[in-house]
Amino acid sequence: MAKIDLIVRRAKLDGQDVDVFVSEGKIAEVKPSAETLEAGDAVVEEAFGLTLLPSMTDVHVHLREPGFEYKEDVESGLRAAAWGGFSNIMCMANTKPVNDNGAVTEFMLDKARKHWPDGPRLFPIGALTKGLQGKELAPMGELAEAGCAAFSNDGVPVESTKIFRLAVEYASDWDRVVIDHCEDPYLGVAAGVNEGEVSSRLGLPGQPDVAEAMQVARDILLAEYLDLPIHLAHISCRRSADLIRFAKSRGVKISAETTPHYLTMTENILEAEATEFDALAKVNPPLRTEDDRQAMIEALNDGTIDCLATDHAPHAGYEKETEFDVAPCGITGLDTALSVTWGLVRDGVLTREAFLRAWTTAPCGIFKLPVNAFKPGDPADFFLFDEDEDWTVSPATLHSKGKNTPLLGSVLKGRVKTHFIAGKKVV
């Protein structure tokens, strides 16, 4: 047996008290806690019965650097990830300059290495088209070589189906998956509110759910035709989930993510007395109906939707404290995702299996990232979690620079106490 560097004692893993043995950054063994322990030279971390969970992977965040460091930067984004329970994060390309060349990718990775040498690991997502313009393919070979784990035009969907097809084909040459932000560019104005009852009453131009579902249908047909994978970003509505379920039944190489806010919030937040017209709840795709929320939970539990992602979209306070029409879309999410989704597990809404699959094995499988399933040889990425600790969401308790969440003021349950990535303590 290899030399043990770290032992985490008496952690609660799926109801059982266990000791975790780590060697050279990898899991060596996980076994029921023994009364006595021969630790040798190993560092011993006493867990005192805290919950042990594998680190999570977020395949959809916006770190804003370079270009918008006042909203977030690589350092602050990774800090939020570390405290949020994430060992792997994938960051979108809509920076300034856009991440459509190797130099930008390398800049991001240098920043990550400098500030967080032991992780969380950063996996940039390269632009699908130059400048996110939707006209010419980005140099995906160069981007892949520089370290991009996937390609996407997120936020600026590719209007031309022809260009999108070419991008999916070309990305496959570099063994990378394309992530599509599904929004018909003609029907789908980034209104930040669902088209329906609430938008009609409030007099806000809304985005219909079919704007998303039509693009989902396009992508399914293309993926089937090309026999190539496409990953669908932040799915928000039942129509899309039904299409994805149908596609999977046909064996189409489609994968999909949804976010904690589509599992827990609806459009009604925008006409509640305290939060009417609150731009903190403005997000794209918009918060949908209660039926859509239920559909997201069903789809996550039955595996139709493969994984969770935060779509962490930090903005400066003044950008959101403005008229609803004027405010940018987006909710900050790295800090709150774990508490929110673990709350669904605790309430019996989301199965523990679905939670683990959605935050760990599924996203890592789709994008070929390191994953810990507590098997020998897995990366020693895990955290100790106090399930019962209450914390109030406030600017002071969020590690991200982005304080833009409709959860401000809410009391959430569960906090990360210690986080190990590849056997090294990062928080």
């Binding site: 088209e195 329906g196 007099g203 806000l204 017209f277 403005t322 029409d325």
Partner: protein
Amino acid sequence: MKWLHKDLLDVSRLSKAEVMAIFETAGRFQELQERPVKKVPTLKGRSVVLFFAEPSTRTKTSFDVAGKRLSADTFSLAKSSSSLTKGESLKDTALTLQAMAPDAIVIRHWCSGAARFMADRLDCSVINAGDGRHAHPTQALLDSFTLHQEWGDLSGRTILILGDIAHSRVARSNVILLNMLGAKVRLCGPRTLLPPAVRNWPVEVYSDLDEAVRGVDAVMCLRLQLERQKDGLLPDLREYARTYGLGMKHVELANPDVRIMHPGPLNRGVEISSELADTANSLILDQVASGVVVRMALLFLYMTRKGEE
């Protein structure tokens, strides 16, 4: 009645009793209109800022006249003369106005929710003079007051709102208020100009104007914004006028005493025929007169609310 509300953001926050109190107060101010000196010292020393970030003639003038007749000092701030054109945020505009300690701010803004945004940040009363497509409570109140003057009770009356409902804050506030007052509301317009979820509103929806107007007691025409054609919502204005323009023939189909209303400004020959706008059935100028007294009532009630004199 002790007035408890700080702000008037939409009619939905009012009770029927409060609406009646506004009408009663407005009715008392009507007498003032007949006097040679149309001014009382009720709000002497109080200040009202008229913050119109969107162009307006009649609403702004109406509030200005209303304030001055109550001896309040009124100050105008238009978008063109405000720092909004220099890129100042609405929050900073709100805080700047706050620092000047006005007693009330009347706001018109192109964004739905802008009045609520200001009300959350200002200590003084905020009166919504139209926010985006959301609400225009003072217009709805003056419309109902005008009908109240004609008929007394509105319950059992059928009122048709005609035209571009989707983009109309006037229609949204009127649907709420007319229902509150017991009237039956019909809406008529092309599908492209109806709100997406209109089927769940407390209204009957028509696409055929001849059918919609049959037996109604009043028709409220809405102004058609001519740029809707450029947005692709209409093929052309001629077809709109032919299909949804209110004309003399519709008076025959409606209740013989049908009242014709329009919040102005009118596009004669588009949403309403020119001759109909000038007939005895028309209450369009009565609406303007009602506007002044209703706004006087609102300024009075909101600026002398509980906790103040």
